[in-house]
C-alpha cells in the first residue's frame, strides 16, 4: 500500500483535503501533474508583465501548452475552458475574488422550481467556510446585508478611485454593493506579506499575498507529513475484484507507468479534469466509466456565463491600479424576482487593473484608439479612465451541457482529452440581457461618458462545476452528500464537480468549504473502517 488516501490534484480542493487529512494518522499521498511555482518567476517581477499572459501564464491550456497541461476540445462551447495545472491549481492564476454562495443557492428547486436542491445546506457548510477563510487568509468587511454574518476577515482591499466612483453609482440607484471578499492578505499573516497592490493577480502573485493554496494550505499540509508527488499524471483509476478501487495508474513525465495503491482515492481535478479521469477509467459495472451507473458523470456542466460591462469616464480613476479582480461587488440582482423573465440571478464584480497593453488592445479593437496622429490622445482618454465590471450569471444545470472524451485528441501521455459540449439556455440568455442592461445603467449612474456591454465573453471559462453532482438518490447523482461515490465505496470527489447548482459567485470559497466538509467525512469513514 503506497498510502491510505491518494488525492488526485493539488489545487484548491485537493490542498484543503490534504491539509485536513494531514491532521489524522492517515498516510496521505497527493498526485499532481504540474509542478511547484516560484513566486519570483511570476510576470509582475518583469517589465513585460502584461505580455506573459498571452503565453505561458495564459489561463487557457490550449494556448499555454505547458508540458503539464492537457488539451481541451472546447470548440463546441461559446466559453473557452480556463485552468492551471500545477501545485496550487487554478488558484495560481485566479483573481482571488472570494464570495460565498448564498443560502438560497442550496435550495433552488424548493424556492424557485429550477435546478435541484443540494443534500447539504449553507448551515452545514458555515463552520467550513469560516475554517477555510482562516486557512486561506481572506479580506473583506463584516456586516454585508447580502449574507449571514461573516466574521474574522482581514481589512478589505482598497476600493481605489474607481471603486468609489462606482459605489456612488450604486448608491444613486439604491442598489446593494459591498467591498469584495478577497483571498488576499491585507496584513502580514504568518509567513506571508501583505498585499502591495501589484495589480495582475491573475498571472500569479509575486508577493504571495494572494491566497493561492501553494502558499496557504500546502506549507502546513507538507509539514504535517503529506507526500506531494509532482509531474505525475493519473491516467485512470484501477478497480479491484470487489468493485472497490485499489489505486491509480500514473504516468511520470518521462513516460514511466505504474500503479499506486491506496485504501481510498479522492478526485480533486475540477469540473473538467475529474470527469475526464472517471470516463477514462474502466469499470466492470458499466461501460460508461467509473462511478457512472447514473450516466451523470460529465453532465450538468455549469460555467457561469460572464457578461462584461465597461464605462469610460472623463476623470482619471486610476483604474489601472489595484488587485485586478477584487474591488467592490453587488448582489442586488442575485435572488429570483418574479417580475423578471428569468429565475435566479447574477452578481456584479467590479474589476480593475487593465494595464497599458490591455487598454490599448481593447481600445484598438473597439476603434476607440486609432492609428496615426490621434493614437496617443485616444489612448490618454482611456488609460486609467475605464471602469470595468463582470456580471457572473447563475448557470442552471442541464444534462446536455457536458464533458465527454475526445479520442482523437490526447495529452503528451496519450490520455484522451476532454471535449466540451455546452450552450446557454433560454433562462441564462434572458439573464444575460438583463445583466448587461443593468451594468450599463450603473456606469451611466456613476457618470460614465460612454459604456459598452457584451456577453457571454468567450475567454472566461474558469468556473467548472456540476459534472459529478452530489445527491441522496444514486439514480440522479454521482456522489452522496459526503462526496462518496454511490457506485464505488472508496472513491470520493471533493471538487466543484459535486456542485448541484452554481450560484452566481466565483466558486472557490464554496468549493473549498465543500472539500473540507467532505474531508471530514473521509477522515471518519476511514477511521471507522480501521487501518
Amino acid at each position: 500500500m503506497d498510502a491510505d488516501v491518494i488525492i488526485v490534484g493539488a489545487g484548491a480542493a485537493g490542498a484543503a483535503v490534504a491539509w485536513r487529512l494531514s491532521n489524522t494518522k492517515l498516510k496521505v499521498l497527493c498526485i499532481e501533474q504540474g509542478e511547484f511555482q516560484l513566486p519570483s518567476d511570476y510576470p509582475s517581477t518583469r517589465s513585460k508583465w502584461e505580455l506573459e499572459k498571452f503565453g505561458r501564464f495564459s489561463p487557457f491550456p490550449n494556448i499555454r501548452m505547458n508540458a503539464f497541461d492537457y488539451p481541451i476540445n472546447d470548440e463546441g462551447s461559446p466559453i473557452a475552458i480556463a485552468n492551471f495545472n500545477g501545485v496550487g491549481g487554478s488558484t495560481i492564476l485566479y483573481s482571488g475574488h472570494f464570495p460565498r454562495m448564498h443560502p438560497s443557492d442550496f435550495r433552488t428547486k424548493t424556492l424557485d422550481g429550477v435546478g435541484d436542491d443540494w443534500p447539504i445546506n449553507y448551515g452545514d457548510l458555515e463552520p467550513f467556510f469560516a475554517l477555510n477563510d482562516r486557512m486561506m487568509g481572506v479580506s473583506g468587511l463584516e456586516g454585508d446585508p447580502a449574507y449571514p454574518l461573516i466574521e474574522g476577515l482581514l481589512p478589505p482591499v482598497p476600493m481605489g478611485k474607481v471603486g468609489e466612483k462606482l459605489a456612488e453609482g450604486f448608491n444613486n440607484l439604491g442598489w446593494h454593493w459591498w467591498p469584495s471578499y478577497a483571498a488576499i492578505v491585507t496584513k502580514n499573516t504568518g509567513q506571508r506579506n501583505a498585499c502591495i497592490n501589484l495589480g495582475p493577480c491573475n498571472t500569479g502573485c509575486a508577493q504571495s499575498a494572494k491566497s493561492s493554496v501553494d502558499v496557504s494550505y500546502w506549507p502546513t499540509a507538507l509539514a504535517n507529513g503529506v507526500e506531494l508527488r509532482t509531474r505525475t499524471r493519473v491516467s485512470q483509476l484501477i478497480e479491484g475484484a470487489d468493485g472497490e478501487i485499489v489505486g491509480v495508474e500514473v504516468v511520470s513525465q518521462s513516460g514511466e507507468v505504474c500503479v499506486l495503491r491506496s485504501r481510498a482515492v479522492v478526485l480533486a481535478c475540477n469540473g473538467v479534469g475529474t470527469p475526464r479521469i472517471l470516463l477514462n477509467s474502466i469499470s466492470r459495472k458499466t461501460k460508461r466509466g467509473m462511478g457512472n451507473s447514473s450516466d451523470l458523470v460529465g453532465r450538468n456542466l455549469m460555467l457561469h456565463p460572464l457578461g462584461y460591462v465597461e464605462g469610460v469616464f472623463e476623470e482619471n480613476l486610476e483604474s489601472n491600479l489595484g488587485p485586478q479582480g477584487c474591488c467592490i461587488a453587488s448582489h442586488e440582482f442575485y435572488e429570483t424576482d418574479d417580475q423578471r423573465d428569468f429565475k435566479r440571478g447574477y452578481s456584479m464584480q467590479v474589476l480593475r487593473g487593465p494595464g497599458p497593453l490591455e487598454t490599448a488592445l481593447s481600445g484598438n479593437l473597439r476603434r476607440e484608439i486609432s492609428w496615426g496622429s490621434n493614437h496617443h490622445s485616444d489612448f490618454e482618454k482611456r488609460f486609467g479612465r475605464i471602469a470595468s465590471m463582470s456580471t457572473i450569471l447563475e448557470d442552471l444545470p442541464h444534462p446536455d451541457n457536458r464533458v465527454t472524451l475526445d479520442e482523437g485528441l490526447r495529452d503528451q501521455s496519450g490520455i484522451p482529452a476532454p471535449r466540451i459540449s455546452y450552450e446557454l439556455k433560454i433562462n441564462t440568455k434572458r439573464m444575460m440581457s438583463h445583466a448587461l442592461n443593468k451594468g450599463r445603467e450603473l456606469m451611466h449612474a456613476a457618470g460614465a461618458r460612454k459604456s459598452y456591454a457584451f456577453g457571454p465573453v468567450r475567454e472566461t471559462g474558469w468556473h467548472l462545476m456540476g459534472t459529478a453532482r452530489m445527491g441522496d438518490d444514486p439514480s440522479s447523482s454521482v456522489v452522496n452528500k459526503f462526496g462518496r461515490s454511490h457506485d464505488v465505496p472508496n472513491l470520493y470527489i471533493a471538487d466543484s464537480s459535486v456542485f448541484v447548482t452554481s450560484g452566481a459567485v466565483n466558486p472557490t470559497s464554496t468549493l473549498q468549504a465543500v472539500a473540507l466538509w467532505i474531508a471530514e467525512g473521509i477522515a471518519k469513514d476511514l477511521d471507522s473502517r480501521g487501518r
Binding site: 443560502p103 448551515g123 481605489g160 478611485k161 468609489e164 459605489a167 490599448a360 496615426g372
Partner: protein, 143 residues
C-alpha cells in the same frame, strides 16, 4: 528594424510625441514579438502591400508619407488598409506598451510592479451607510 517599409509603417501607426515623451513605433522591439508569434515574414509582406497602395494612390514611398497623409489613406481606403493594420497592430501594441520607456512616459514607471508595489486610494467606506441601512438583501432561509 531591417525592413524599411515595415519601419516606416509602424512609425506612422504610432508616431512619436515629444510633448508626452513617447517614442515612435520603431523604437520598440516589434521584431522580437513578431518572431515570437511567427509573424515576421507576413508583417514584411503586409508592409510591402501597404507601400504599394500608397504608391498607387499618392505616388509616394512609405518613408515620404506624412502622418496626416497616413490618416487620410486609412480613412479613404479602409477596406484595403484595415486588414493590414489588424494583422500587424496587436503585435505592435504588445511591443510598444510593454516597453519600459513607454511605460515610464505613461506614468507607471519603468520598473515592474514587484517589489515596490503601487499606492491605491483607500476609498470612502462611509458610502456604505445607505447599503447597510437598507437591510438584508439575501433570502434568509432556515439552514
Amino acid at each position: 528594424m531591417p525592413d524599411q517599409n515595415l519601419e516606416a509603417l509602424i512609425n506612422l501607426m504610432i508616431p512619436g510625441d515629444s510633448r508626452l515623451n513617447l517614442p515612435s513605433g520603431s523604437y520598440v522591439d516589434l521584431d522580437v514579438i513578431l518572431q515570437m508569434e511567427n509573424k515576421w515574414e507576413t508583417a514584411i509582406l503586409l508592409a510591402e502591400q501597404f507601400a504599394e497602395i500608397v504608391h498607387g494612390k499618392l505616388n509616394k514611398t512609405l518613408i515620404q508619407l506624412t502622418v496626416e497623409e497616413f490618416d487620410e489613406i486609412c480613412r479613404s481606403f479602409r477596406t484595403q488598409i484595415d486588414p493590414i493594420l489588424k494583422a500587424i497592430g496587436p503585435s505592435l501594441l504588445k511591443a510598444y506598451y510593454t516597453n519600459p520607456k513607454v511605460q515610464d512616459a505613461l506614468g507607471i514607471g519603468k520598473d515592474p510592479p514587484f517589489p515596490s508595489g503601487r499606492n491605491v486610494y483607500t476609498g470612502n467606506i462611509e458610502l456604505l451607510e445607505p447599503v447597510y441601512n437598507r437591510g438584508l438583501v439575501y433570502r434568509n432561509i432556515h439552514g
